[in-house]
């Protein structure tokens, strides 16, 4: 199903039409925010993210930790 769908719309120029609102591929790789003000109604999510990133940096090896920190802090720049 997935491969077929991707093949059908492969490099489909019509999907670039602004009115479709589909041009969001780069925004998609921005990590979830860890700012408290973004989670006033879901504080448990904030806890998962904050605790999760700390845990992740401890669990991976140092060079991977450094690379991830760089990418996560600024994935698009």
């Amino acid at each position: 199903m997935l491969a077929r769908m991707h093949a059908i719309f492969w490099e489909e120029e019509n999907l670039k039409a602004v009115e479709l609102g589909l041009i969001n591929n780069l925004a998609s790789i921005i990590p979830f925010s860890t700012k408290p003000e973004h989670y006033q109604h879901a504080p448990h999510i904030l806890e998962i993210l904050q605790h999760g990133w700390s845990a992740l940096y401890e669990l991976v090896e140092p060079d991977v930790c450094d690379a991830l920190q760089s990418l996560v802090e600024n994935p698009l720049r």
Partner: protein, 152 residues
């Protein structure tokens, strides 16, 4: 502030790599919870299309694999299956030289998106078996990140 900083800054190597990839229509939350199979008609239906976009295929493929952490040993076989199907559908438009780099950077992006969640449950889950699954997933990140970085 976050958006303005992104818009005004120089693109990263990751950004540059991603925009050069072929794009297609992607669901962007493609996982088992958003799928329903109807055996009577052999139809597979996907739900929750609100995040659909136009992006590299790995946004779906790697996200889906990230949701199958308990089947980590099967991921390579799944990727190969998908590759065969895609190349069949695309024919001459499928670029085998691009495949490996696209997949490995896609997996790196998946770590950025889902890594903190898996790490959280790797250390906090009260379910020992689930905690072990998440720990294995996080352990696999060392290779995934290093392989992805090679292409940037």
């Amino acid at each position: 502030m976050r958006c303005s900083a992104i818009l005004s800054g120089e693109p990263s190597a990751l950004n540059i790599f991603l925009v050069k990839l072929p794009a297609t229509f992607v669901h962007k939350d493609f996982r088992q919870d958003n799928l329903a199979f109807f055996p009577e008609t052999m139809e597979l239906i996907a739900f929750d299309w609100q995040m659909a976009g136009y992006a590299p295929l790995t946004m779906d493929l790697c996200w889906f694999m990230g949701s199958l952490a308990e089947q980590l040993d099967q991921h390579e076989a799944y990727y190969q299956y998908y590759q065969r199907r895609l190349s069949t559908y695309l024919g001459d438009r499928f670029d085998p030289n691009l495949w490996r780099s696209m997949l490995e950077v896609g997996c790196l992006v998946e770590v950025i998106l889902k890594g903190s969640w898996h790490a959280f449950f790797a250390v906090t889950s009260e379910d020992e078996s689930f905690r072990a699954i998440m720990r294995r997933s996080v352990n696999s990140y060392n290779d995934i990140v290093r392989k992805g970085l090679v292409w940037l």
